[in-house]
Amino acid sequence: MIDNFALGLTHGLMLLAAWRLLARADLEDDDAPATPRRGWFAAGDAQGDA
């Protein structure tokens, strides 16, 4: 029960972090603007790899 709670919480956060990173152009280039957050998942519109 405790194990599953801790695993679920941390893995959920890592998944959310990875999802948010997808939309960030500054992952590849410091000069690219950090995409503004939109809604809960912050994916924004298709950013492409630029």
């Binding site: 405790i2 194990d3 599953n4 709670f5 801790a6 695993l7 679920g8 919480l9 941390t10 893995h11 956060l13 890592m14 998944l15 972090a17 990875a18 999802w19 948010r20 990173l21 997808l22 960030r24 500054d26 992952l27 590849e28 280039d29 410091d30 950090a34 957050r37 790899d49």
Partner: protein, 448 residues
């Protein structure tokens, strides 16, 4: 069921990695830290998942990623030298089979520490690596924290999800890492951009820090208590109201004592009484043995060389009833005791050359972070995060080095991942400084 969840998680990250190959690096950090193959029953056990992800991470960097600003630092060279030297000692080890077993995971830790800086091209990547390292360790720390809160704990008793006592799941190791992570958690909660600071992030960070502090209590690892004291002292360095902080910390510590499990306070009391404590006595005896061994084998005995030790420990205990005090001295024999210290681990296994390399790598890391800390101290705005990150990494590193006095974690992969991140951070700053200098030069008006 849990197997399926792990597979789903790994598959999702692999799929996202197809779009952003850097996610393979993050997935590797996760697998290296949490070892999901040890938490599952059979499914992922049967696939060499760590190897597959390492190949994906390195392969995609080699083939796809941009390599502008590529740098190779002295520290990476020293890590490679340590790797090569450890390889030689493994071939000539006192206990070849045992040495091979440790070499099997130790070389990967060093290789990834050399590779990781190459991938840290942007600020966001540095943050993402720290976030994944923190959340991965948090999976173990939160379990330990909640169990300690509900049921107390005990040395070697706290159930951290796996039975075998290795990797980050070992009591003293997780205690050291959990306390060292606190400054990094604070940094992520202040300057994070993946999860920008808001009430949710702050609540999570506060809860996680509390769980980190509970780990040494739950595992009853005395090393953890020493690490908390070091963290307390280090925090003083950047504190504006030091007296107020000291007062608050003392009050908090006093207030916490009644809530600590009796077995914890009893065990911590043994820190003062080294003579009557077998664990401490054994440690001192092993260190003395290792020093002696290093005189005879200055180039090290290879991994697991401690297996040849035979030590004798004298335990003195005094009991008083009324006015009569009975002192009993007992001699206990022991053999093949582990080093219980990273420095003696290096000295025994890789000899003086290994210890020198180890100290040099860690010394350069601390010095470089100190330079960055001072150089960027007054910057604000977009660069306000730099000096606090150098401070947080340096504090992690110092806590690790103090914890290392009592735990043999010289090759602990998690630590080497942080070392790799520190090197990457350093490279990033040098690139930035070079770029700024270049821009300045281009603005100089040409002579008429």
């Amino acid at each position: 069921m849990r197997d399926l969840a792990f597979i789903g998680f790994i598959a999702a990250l692999l799929a996202l990695g197809l779009k952003r190959p850097f996610l393979f690096v993050l997935l590797y950090l996760y697998i290296d830290t949490v070892s999901p193959q040890r938490l599952s029953y059979y499914l992922i056990n049967s696939i060499p998942i760590s190897l597959i992800v390492a190949v994906l991470a390195m392969g995609s960097w080699l083939l796809i990623e941009r390599k502008d600003g590529f740098a190779f630092s002295a520290r990476q060279g020293l890590i490679l030298a340590l790797l090569a030297y450890a390889g030689v000692t493994t071939l000539n080890a006192d206990f070849p089979v045992d040495a091979m077993e440790k070499w099997d995971w130790a070389w990967k830790a060093l290789v990834f520490a050399v590779f990781l800086p190459f991938t840290l091209r942007t600020r966001l990547r540095i943050e993402a690596v720290l976030l994944f390292l923190t959340l991965s360790a948090a999976a173990i720390i939160i379990v330990g924290g909640i169990k300690t809160m509900l049921a107390g704990g005990g040395y070697g008793v706290l159930n951290l999800m796996v039975d075998n006592n290795s990797g980050l799941y070992e009591s003293s190791t997780i205690s050291t890492v959990a306390i060292g992570l606190i400054p990094l958690i604070v940094w992520l909660a202040r300057f994070g951009t993946v999860f920008p600071p808001d009430w949710r992030v702050k609540t999570f960070a506060a809860g996680l820090i509390f769980a980190c502090l509970l780990i040494p209590i739950g595992t009853e690892a005395r090393t953890g208590l020493v690490c908390i004291a070091v963290l307390g002292l280090l925090t003083l360095r950047d504190m504006k109201r030091r007296i107020l902080y000291l007062g608050a910390a003392a009050m908090l510590a006093l207030a916490a004592i009644p809530f600590l499990p009796a077995s914890f306070t009893a065990r911590m009391d043994t820190i003062q009484n080294v003579q009557g404590d077998q664990s401490a006595g054994t440690r001192l005896a092993v260190w003395a043995w290792t020093w002696d061994y290093a005189q005879r084998h200055p180039f090290g005995g290879g991994f697991g060389a401690y297996r040849s030790n035979h030590i004798q420990v004298q335990i003195v205990s005094a009991q008083s009833s009324g006015e009569v005090q009975t002192v009993t001295a007992q001699t206990e024999a022991d053999e093949a005791r582990a080093y219980h210290s990273s420095y003696f681990e290096m000295l025994g296994e890789q000899g003086f050359p290994g210890l020198a390399l180890f100290l040099l790598i860690n010394g350069i890391a601390l010095a470089r972070l100190e330079i960055v800390r001072r150089r960027y101290r007054r910057l604000a705005g977009d660069e306000a995060w730099i000096a606090p990150l150098a401070t947080a990494l340096q504090h992690f590193h110092l806590i690790y080095m103090v914890g290392s006095l009592f735990v043999g974690i010289a090759y602990q992969p998690f630590i080497w991942l942080v070392v790799g991140t520190e090197i990457g951070f350093d490279h990033w700053l040098k690139r930035k400084e070079r770029k700024a200098r270049g821009a300045e030069r281009s603005f100089v008006p040409a002579p008429a």
